[in-house]
């Protein structure tokens, strides 16, 4: 199991489009992937689940992956966060 802490860098936060990006990336990997915010863990392969996190600009998110390709999974998703989902950075 691999964990990585990251922060929301884009101004709008995680709305529908970034959620879809995360889910589409996550589903390519076989590992179970979760996003955790303030103790609430949701399945990162579910768009509705990610939206429920209500992750706004500046929020701290923990990426958790468990499985054969956990390292690549965490790296890929962390990259999405770092790039601000190709949106305006805050």
């Amino acid at each position: 199991m691999v964990e990585l802490e990251t922060t929301i860098k884009n101004r709008a936060g995680i709305h529908a489009r970034p959620s879809a990006l995360i889910a589409q990336t996550a589903i390519k990997f076989a590992s179970r992937i979760y996003l955790e915010k303030e103790g609430n863990q949701i399945n990162a392969k579910s768009i509705m689940g990610i939206i429920t996190l209500a992750a706004s600009f500046g929020a701290k998110i923990k990426i958790i992956a468990d499985g054969a390709d956990e390292q690549e999974a965490v790296k890929a998703i962390a990259e999405l966060f770092e790039s601000g989902f190709n949106e305006e950075l805050g």
């Binding site: 529908a16 889910a23 589903i27 103790g39 609430n40 863990q41 949701i42 399945n43 392969k45 579910s46 768009i47 509705m48 689940g49 939206i51 429920t52 209500a54």
Partner: protein, 332 residues
Amino acid sequence: MKEKEPVNFTVLDLLSLELKEHNDLKLQCTAGRAGLSREISVPDLNRPGLALAGFYDSFAWERLQIFGRGESAYLHKIEEDGVAAQIYEKLFSYQIPCCIFTNGIRPTDLFVSNAEAVGCPVLITELNSMELSIRIIRILHDIFAPKMIMHGVLVEVFGIGILLTGESGVGKSETALSLIERGHRLVADDVVEIHCLNGSLLMGQGTNKVIGHHMEIRGLGIINVTHLFGVGAIRDKKQIQLVIQIEDWDPKKVYDRIGTDELTMEILGVKIPKLEIPVKPGRNLAIIIETAAMNERLKKMGYHSAREFNQNILRWLESESARTMFFSRDDY
């Protein structure tokens, strides 16, 4: 699957609850607004009679303090006798979450000023003590009930609450859509919040009113079920009575072919009957789930189809063997 941490519930949260009709507490805050952020840490009430009389051993100060007719009358008496000041001082030296006066009786000015001084909220309700106690305990126990969030889709089929679980992409949402189109109801899609009531009942609901009753369908995107199918296609909360795990057909796995396996899944300490349904292109999952719901209803009424089937077979085999024995005897 992760259990949610206990939520910080304050007096302000209690006042802000949206309660209807037979649940309404009719509470109003008359003093001590500074203390509305005080936390309610236990779902319990206390009548502070003993404390007011001076006995503070085992004083349950963490509970909500209820001042009924008797307590209010006593407060008037001690103020008349001039001993109220030190009694109030001792009472408010504890970090009481709040004081609730019932029957619409207003507390005295001296009581209020002492409460304001320490920042203890004072609330009034027109309900009588018993009605208030019943309602508050019901509400608080619901809020303090063990909860967790599960990934799945909760639907109501023929009155049975069914939680569809399975890997992402296996077709839970699409199956739910099929069920909705057939007249059943969506309770929650993807993120299901489960509360355990009374240690034996699991209540499931969506986590968020904003995105509630929306579904994500690959190829379509996010759809608003209420707008598309109407208010008869949705439900806010439903007891979870059956778990159906949808999985890709595994040729190596042994699936239940008779119906007597009785698998269960444990959620928050409650065992719920579970079915494992394999998915293959061409299989109509919706009708299988409808049948599972009807079968569950039948079981609740006391008819267990698979067991009865086997008992009938046993009886038939017995009678068959008796007949063959008769025809094979050589006593003609």
